[in-house]
Symmetry: C2
Subunit: 641 residues, 2 copies
């Protein structure tokens, strides 16, 4: 790991004090359009408004007013973690204001901060669910109370605000620091030697430490991380692995238990390992990431195989139909993976982030941005009933997107991720820039202690595989472009006054080091043609099946596309894998057959012969777009004929 000096604090979601790469903030990198630009526009308007309306109507924001008025617990609404949704929304607003400078959002932000600040107790305590007469006492239910979890999100919101609008004077950072000081007093050395049942305060404290230059916060984050595995939380039917209190972080082999908790904790552990220089811990986390990706992750990047405990399954336990693949788990996975990427700079981390963004985080919200998947199944056998737009849905019951959930962690988590997406597009090395995610975008920064880097990226990716980078300043630096792991046969082209040079490049970072001149162009051509992906034979639940992918997008077969063939269900459709998928009319088509219906009274007997089935072509849909055309059955993994 090399030291990277930072001149200013970037307006970015994670800013480690050292690492192979330096993150770029909103002033240095900006998405200007394309696939992600569209999502950011929808997110910044429809999604944010939708969330705020729900936070009001569900009573989760008014809870703070009741706290300030001293009338709680009467009238409090929502679960024990509802405060956190307000904080995640504030974080989303902070990034969006940083991105757009929208005065209306700024006004909304300040109004909410004032309501939150008014609810804080004189000693810094802030939670609408605990500590008042008629409520459970503070810190008495660490397993399920979520007090520290909520504060972690408060800290992340305050950090986002302070990085994007330093010294804005709205008071959020003061609220956060008062709460953080209290947490250190109560849970520091000599205090309660335990942890929160849902990791999150750790990553919030680590980031707040970086922002405030306050070593005590980092030390508290470290204490919380290290206390996991000491068994200070109560035993539970699902095991202490549920809240990662089964094994010390540095001794674990893979992520396990509740998938959001596991990823948030792992992200914080990277922060602690990097900032405290704990290479043993960092190595342990690298191994856990690798094992988790190799054996416990869906092709979409999704994580979590159990509905019951929203948890990782065992190695290879990846059922597509019961995939929980919670939206928030992938957001947590991006947090964890991004921190390892900044530490190590390896392309595989950015590969996973791309996969998770396109196939989980983008899948959750509807095109309109006002309904969401909480869980992201990879196989739907029964078409869902559209959710009532005025209702609040159970968290994972629907096979269609729902406007809001009783446990509504995902919508504001999606919103804060998209509002801060610019920072994931590029990062700086000591002597150059690496482009990580491909979107029409601008990069304006200085690297290596004085070299200006000004890049414009044009692309229609992922629709098209061509990425064109135009250099806008005379400077010598290294431009690295990520070649995803799936992109065998990629080409790199440099167009300059010297002419055009082209070479094939392997997955990883394709680098061009030269004295660039204004107007030089570097082009990457990624082979986004559809491809067939075969799962490891140990993923028992999809044996005999393949998935079709195109560029970074996982594709799916949706029953709505079978209607022209006279079918209303994906159930008996099998892929003729001898015919390669083709692109036609802007869609990917595959050749399929249909297994004969076998209405045996007992389903375990002789094999059905599908060899005589007639075949025909059907179009696939990007997985992130499924269920946009009404109730449908769907499958990502297609049985091979």
């Amino acid at each position: 790991m090399t030291m990277t000096s930072t001149t200013t604090i970037p307006a970015a979601p994670a800013v480690p004090i050292r690492g192979a790469l330096r993150p770029l903030g909103q002033t240095e990198v900006r998405i200007t359009g394309g696939f992600w630009g569209r999502r950011q526009r929808v997110n910044g308007s429809a999604t944010l408004s939708h969330i705020e309306a729900r936070l009001e109507s569900e009573g989760w924001l008014p809870n703070f007013d009741l706290a300030a008025a001293g009338t709680l617990p009467e009238g409090r609404r929502g679960r024990e973690f509802s405060d956190s949704e307000v904080y995640k929304y504030l974080e989303a607003l902070a990034w969006e204001i940083g991105r757009t400078d929208d005065p209306a959002l700024e006004q909304r932000f300040r109004a909410i901060v004032a309501r939150v600040a008014a609810a804080q107790e004189p000693d810094g305590y802030l939670d609408t669910m605990f500590g008042r007469p008629g409520q459970d006492a503070r810190w008495t239910n660490l397993e399920w109370g979520h007090e520290l979890y909520c504060l972690g999100h408060l800290f992340q919101a305050a950090v986002a605000r302070e990085r994007t609008r330093p010294g804005a004077g709205d008071g959020l950072i003061d609220v956060a620091r008062r709460a953080a000081d209290l947490v250190c007093d109560v849970f520091g050395p000599g205090g309660i030697e335990s942890i929160c049942g849902h990791a999150e305060v750790e990553v919030g404290l680590a980031e707040l430490a970086r922002l405030a230059g306050e070593g005590r916060y980092l030390e508290q984050a470290r204490l919380f991380v290290e206390r996991h595995g000491a068994g200070t939380l109560a035993e539970h039917e699902w095991g202490r692995s549920y809240y990662q209190d089964d094994v010390p972080v540095r001794d674990a082999e893979a992520l396990r238990g509740h998938a959001v908790r596991a990823n948030y904790l792992a992200a914080a552990a990277v922060d602690v390992a990097v900032d405290a220089g704990d290479d043993e811990l960092l190595d342990a986390l690298r191994r856990q990431w690798a094992r988790t990706i190799a054996r416990r992750t869906y092709i979409t990047g999704g994580q979590g195989s159990h509905h019951q405990d929203e948890a990782f399954g065992d190695d290879w336990e990846l059922p597509p139909d019961r995939a929980y693949s919670e939206t928030c788990a992938s957001i947590g996975s991006i947090m964890f993976t991004w921190r390892l990427f900044l530490a190590d700079g390896e392309a595989r981390y950015a590969d996973l982030i791309e996969r998770s963004l396109y196939n989980v985080v983008e899948t959750s919200p509807s095109a309109e941005g006002t309904s969401f998947y909480y869980a992201n199944t990879l196989h739907e056998r029964v078409p869902g009933t559209p959710a009532d737009p005025d209702a609040t849905s159970p968290r994972a019951a629907s096979s269609l997107r729902a406007p809001w959930f009783e446990v509504s962690c995902c919508p504001p988590n999606v919103a804060r991720t998209f509002a801060s997406l610019d920072s994931y597009v590029a990062a700086a090395t000591d002597d150059g820039i690496r482009l990580l995610q491909y979107a029409p975008s601008e990069v304006r920064t200085v690297v290596g202690g004085g070299t200006p880097v000004e890049l414009d990226v044009e692309t229609r990716y992922p629709e098209d595989g061509l990425v064109r980078v135009t250099v806008h300043a005379d400077a010598e630096f290294t431009l690295g472009l990520r070649v995803p792991g799936w992109a065998s046969g990629a080409l790199l082209r440099v167009r300059s006054a010297d002419g055009v040079s082209e070479r094939s490049v392997d997955p990883g970072f394709a680098e061009v080091r030269r004295s660039f001149a204004e107007g030089d162009v570097v082009e990457l051509e990624l082979p986004v043609a559809p491809r067939i992906s075969v799962p490891d034979s140990r993923i028992d639940a999809v044996r005999g099946c393949v998935a079709i992918e195109r560029g970074p997008e996982v594709l799916a077969l949706e029953s709505v596309d079978l209607a022209p063939a006279g079918l209303d269900d994906v159930a008996r459709v099998v892929l003729d894998a001898s015919v390669a998928p083709v692109e036609r009319d802007g869609r990917v088509w595959v050749r399929v057959g249909v297994l004969p219906a076998d209405e045996s009274a007992w389903p375990y007997g002789q094999a059905t012969d599908a060899s005589s089935s007639e075949t025909f072509d059907v179009p696939l849909v990007a997985y992130h777009d499924w269920a946009e055309r009404g109730p449908s059955t769907m499958r990502v993994f297609l049985p091979v004929m």
Copy 2:
């Protein structure tokens, strides 16, 4: 359906007022040895003692003493349904006393009944969890309170006792009737128009109605059955289908929701349909049974694909690794199926009962009878840790049998099933006898209004396929022997003074009608040689796999049997299906290969080629015997090479 006259009330678990078949009680049919005789002996000694010790030490029996002393709620232990475990234990004792006439058991039975009776309120109410100062009021939590559920088990216990020891004077039947009268008062016409969140009171009331000749109880059972689907219970995250309150029973297409609840309700609905002559309802239940067996049942007969809500999944959703397949669900399935069998007399019902008995109910208890599976997975990837024999386990966490559970419905449910197993062995038609389950056994009854039937059955089934029935009275009747659905190529042989005749017989009932003479022998030869069973292609989770069965037993590959081949896990083992399974040294052997280990960083890419794998032979184990030799990984469905 034909009327069958009954002269005496048989000492049997279900006695409908009409039907194609008349059940035989303990005085008419008796298992004398063999596979099920061994299990009954273990059940009657070790299992019953174990359960009673736990009911005492967990406080579930002492709760009744506290109730009688008027000191509740202080000191009450156990969940809201703990009373029911005492009642199921009483039912098991009643059957066992009927079977063995053991005076020590009789003494224990009376002692417990006295403690239960002392806890009953003057108006008949009986529940240690509700209704006293400091407890929730009676009937205020129908969704989760389990009050009526507990009483249903009380009724079944009282019925078992009164059928096996009519007029014994221990008082249990009076306790039950007082409680049943109260239930009719409270929930009858003009009363609370709702249901219990866990069906069971219905089947208890229907049986009590038959025993007591009390039409009011049958009518109350009917009301409870018919109220399901009216949505009188609260909505729930898992949907009202969880407690079958989503759709009226007569309108449902298949069993759904919580698998125990679903089966108990369906069993009661058959009782109501038969006794009330509601053929439309009975037809609906036949259809639901057929659909459930064809699409929602494991090869073991197990039911329930979800851990979260212990529920059926959608059609074809049958993951082997996340099979919940609760022991109690199969006991409920046997209750439902047995009632359809008595109504219709079709062999397919007895086929399923055999499958469920051998592969779920027998799988639950250890050979010693003192530890149990609550859930019965068909694929274990991670060897379990032996449960602490002194501890109480969470209900479904362990991959090894556990001595007791916080929710310990299964052990006493297993005990009452085995103690009453004799009645499932044979049943009477108007003019003869049908043998249903093959065990060394004696049948002594009278059919057709005066024809004596005396049979001795000798067999080593399922080890061996030969069943020999010797007739011990001169009489003309029809002897039907069940030929299981899997038994193609079965032979039926009659040995009499006339000589020996033999014919091949198809699945169903093979019948011999003749004037039997003392000493005549009827022999059935069932082909129990191992066979390969291919799952329907719509059971996605086991695509490309097959199961090996032998007679009524499902077999499994257990890692402990791979040790001689230098393997410690079933994970990469694949079956060479071109080599037929063979029997050698009393075990079934299959030819297998091992997939190469592929340690790719990302598990979705190219296929692994297993064609060059060396093959070798490994023995399988009866699924019901798995994990008897210590921690192991295991799979029922073997991937085909």
